[in-house]
């Protein structure tokens, strides 16, 4: 594990040197983020993670007060190391499994024919492959509630669109960069859109505001246009 500063009020822990397998690395990262949340290190105001790293954001004044005479780095390093040592390398939380209904109708699947062409598959085969995979939420980012879902079958690994769309509708289910993702809100975007979910992925009035969290298992379920309409209501 390597610790670096992210400016003067955050640090990042990188675990890439511990595992070469991305799944094991992600599990290690998620367990570390969980352990660090539990440790409630004085002055740390938020913790967030991605594929191989965890960042801790802190209120410098409170960290300095808690660190007493010690240097900020030494204090944080000590607290982080002992939190990680106490927790072990596996998550203690029960894994959440979430099923997301997707309608793959042509009207929603803006790039399905393009994906089929590039992968030399039938559109139906693209959908079947997308449905067959078990995904894990690697992180949430890009926009509020947007999940980066690892586990996309190799045949569907494609680059982003050459020209990003200026307007991707909310709920769009898409693939790019070896992953699947879902746009919680309307936004510009460059992923290949292959369907749409009627489920709300982000709600600022709820806490937690996002349906998915890093570490959640995700499966997609195909629904008809009628089911989509019924769920939208």
């Amino acid at each position: 594990m390597r610790l670096d500063a992210l400016g003067d009020s955050a640090v990042i822990l990188d675990f890439a040197d511990e595992y070469s397998d991305p799944d094991k690395l992600l599990r290690r990262v998620l367990a570390a983020a969980e352990a660090l949340e539990r440790a409630q290190i004085p002055g740390v105001v938020e913790i967030t993670s991605a594929y191989q790293s965890v960042a801790l954001f802190f209120d410098l004044g409170r960290v300095v007060a808690a660190a007493d005479e010690h240097r900020v780095e030494d204090f944080l390093n000590d607290r982080i190391t002992s939190a990680l040592a106490a927790a072990g390398r596996a998550s203690r939380k029960k894994v959440r499994a979430i099923e997301i209904p997707v309608c793959y109708d042509a009207e929603f699947a803006l790039d399905l024919s393009g994906v089929a062409e590039q992968t030399t598959l039938d559109p139906a085969e693209v959908i079947a492959l997308h449905l067959s995979a078990k995904y894990i939420t690697a992180c949430i980012g890009f926009m509020p509630g947007f999940p980066f879902l690892a586990g996309l079958p190799r045949r569907l690994h494609l680059p982003r669109l050459a020209t990003p769309r200026t307007r991707v509708p909310a709920g769009s289910v898409a693939i790019a960069a070896g992953q699947s993702g879902i746009y919680p809100l309307e936004s510009p975007g460059g992923w290949n859109v292959i369907g749409r979910t009627p489920i709300r992925l982000f709600d600022a009035n709820a806490n937690p505001p996002a349906l998915l969290r890093a570490g959640d298992r995700v499966r997609f379920r195909s629904i008809t246009r009628d089911e989509f309409n019924a769920l939208m209501r």
């Binding site: 670096d4 500063a5 992210l6 400016g7 003067d8 009020s9 955050a10 990042i12 990188d14 890439a16 983020a33 105001v45 938020e46 913790i47 967030t48 993670s49 991605a50 594929y51 191989q52 790293s53 965890v54 960042a55 954001f57 410098l60 004044g61 300095v64 900020v72 992180c139 949430i140 980012g141 890009f142 926009m143 509020p144 509630g145 947007f146 980066f148 809100l185 936004s187 982000f202 600022a204 009035n205 806490n207 937690p208 505001p209 996002a210 969290r213 890093a214």
Partner: protein
Amino acid sequence: MIVLSAGFQTTVQDCGRVGFRKFGVTIAGALDSVSMRLANLLVGNEDCAAGLEIATGRVRLQFGDERLIAWCGGEFEVRIGNISLPPLHCARIAPDVICEVQAKRGRAWLAISGGIDVPALLKSRSTDLRAHFGGHCGRALRDKDELQLYPSSALALRIGSEMTDEISDWGAPQLTARDRVLRLVEGRQWEQFTEDSRARFLSGTFSVAMNSDRMGLRLEGEEISIAKTGELPSEPIAPGAIQIPRNGAPIILLGDGQTIGGYPKIAHVITVDLARAAQLQPLDQVRFELIALAEARDLLLKRERDIALFRVGLQTRFA
């Protein structure tokens, strides 16, 4: 409060949304939270009460009852009726008088005693312009918007009753220099940039591009290249990070910047100088100065002490 004229990008902001980056939610908030905090203290508010961030255009406001107002930030002209209100001072404004703010350069923060009463979403009243929530209806203000205010605090009432003039004869300290030099600490990938790129980055002058916004300042000038090519896995990023995308043109992330990113980071603007970054506008020239991390932290601690001193001084005087 009635918004007679809204200006072009006036938003309700407080100190920002902390604790939800793991759900992809940005800080938003006043891009220069120090100015917002000082303006709030001047009118007897808690330092993170919701006020207005004003960027361009002319803003005209009218209040339903007597209030105190104060502003901090860029080069603006603020008038209470016919009286000119300097920055870092407190003014009393009667219900029938119009407060007019003319933006000239940069951004300004206006605090109103009591603070703006909009719902706190995810523990903040800040407007998230990209995700369209928070602040007033998740958007910038429009002409004829009406916003509710909380009642002025007991401290605000004491300040107001002791003011002999419409404008206070005392003020808040100026904590932000106007320099167009941003101080930096090394970024996580600093060592991976070519020596030549690092030298040009530190000696060069950059120009702020037109497509800069609250998410980030896009810079033009020296082209910066990384020695090691290949994609970096996305990782958490912090406001102030200076990313170098493939085209070599630096981007400084501000308060609305995304929470994770895969571009290499050559450096980080120190927290204290995010207030300077918030004043930069398209076509401005900017330079960088690298300092030690310990110095960056000392500057931040000193600034927080200065704010605390002002808060205590004010409370003592109007106890």
